[in-house]
Symmetry: C2
DNA sequence: CTAGCTATATAGTTTTGCTATATACTTTTG
DNA sequence: CAAAAGTATATAGCAAAACTATATAGCTAG
């Protein structure tokens, strides 16, 4: 283990580990692609199939099929885009948001034992760190979204 | 967005988001399974195919095939287990560790802009939070490993 | 209005990962 | 200690997922 690893690098390593440990701790077999898609819609709002595919790092045909399957389960819905009738806006339904939320609760509970014995000072440090992280990731997704080649009105 | 979400839950949500954003920012097409496997071996040391499969959340035959392909690229090597000649110990090679490290550097650099303007106080908060996180995830993987049904000598 | 461009859908193929099972070795038991 | 039962990995065959290529429909520029 390098001692001189930059902070941001340590951050992404721990993020990957936490993600892996949490998935391991819950017994769910639901494909990660479903949660990833619902997470993106939940944080970034409704968007087109193509944008969703890019954000989720799959090809557009793959996302089209995933969206079809999610729509069948009423987890998302497809709204006609008034500005461009070729496109659809994909939005999470209340049921979809609830399913995502339940999964997050499950993940949180699975990780809980690891953090059960945090001291008040440690809890405060993590709370502060979360506020910082949350502000940065919120910014990042906005950048990613505008990266789409979009006509300026 | 819930305001009353528990700390641990916010943590896993941000971990997922960071993982997603970082993957998006780099253009790599290398399957995630490869990095996941190398990460596990790197942090938890050499282990058997079966344990590696469980840790990586794939079936044993899938891991057998992945291990074969990684061995062909000299990213891992298979050591005979002296205690049980049915089993192999899988270990990351120096080349494997280097590849993992390069990928982590790339992820870190991709996220760098998001964190370029941290104040000294914010940096310190994140540094402290990382120390806490690193100690907890280190603990967690040890627990997962002993969870294997292992004969006591 | 036509030519070219863009958004999503479909078809067909490749890849990935699964279940079932075989093989080799270890452990338990009578 | 030999036979039976159990465990670790490997292989075979199949199912699911995701890709490339392309079709279809709608938009936009000249």
């Amino acid at each position: 283990m390098k001692t001189s690893r930059p902070l941001v690098e340590r951050l992404i390593i721990e993020a990957n580990r936490l993600t892996r440990i949490a998935a391991l701790a819950t017994g769910t077999t639901t494909p990660a692609a479903i949660w990833r898609t619902l997470s993106i819609l939940s944080t970034d709002g409704s968007m087109r199939v193509g944008d969703l595919a890019r954000a989720s790092r799959v090809t557009q045909p793959t996302m089209t099929k995933l969206v079809q399957s999610l729509a069948e389960d009423d987890l998302i819905l497809r709204i006609a885009d008034v500005e461009d009738s070729r496109a659809w806006l994909i939005a999470a339904t209340p049921k979809g948001v609830a399913a995502l939320d339940a999964w997050r609760v499950e993940l949180g509970e699975a990780l809980q034992p690891m953090f059960a014995d945090l001291s008040p000072a440690e809890t405060e440090t993590l709370e502060k760190a979360m506020v910082i992280l949350e502000s940065r990731t919120a910014l990042a997704t906005r950048i990613a979204q505008t990266a789409r080649t979009r006509k300026v009105a």
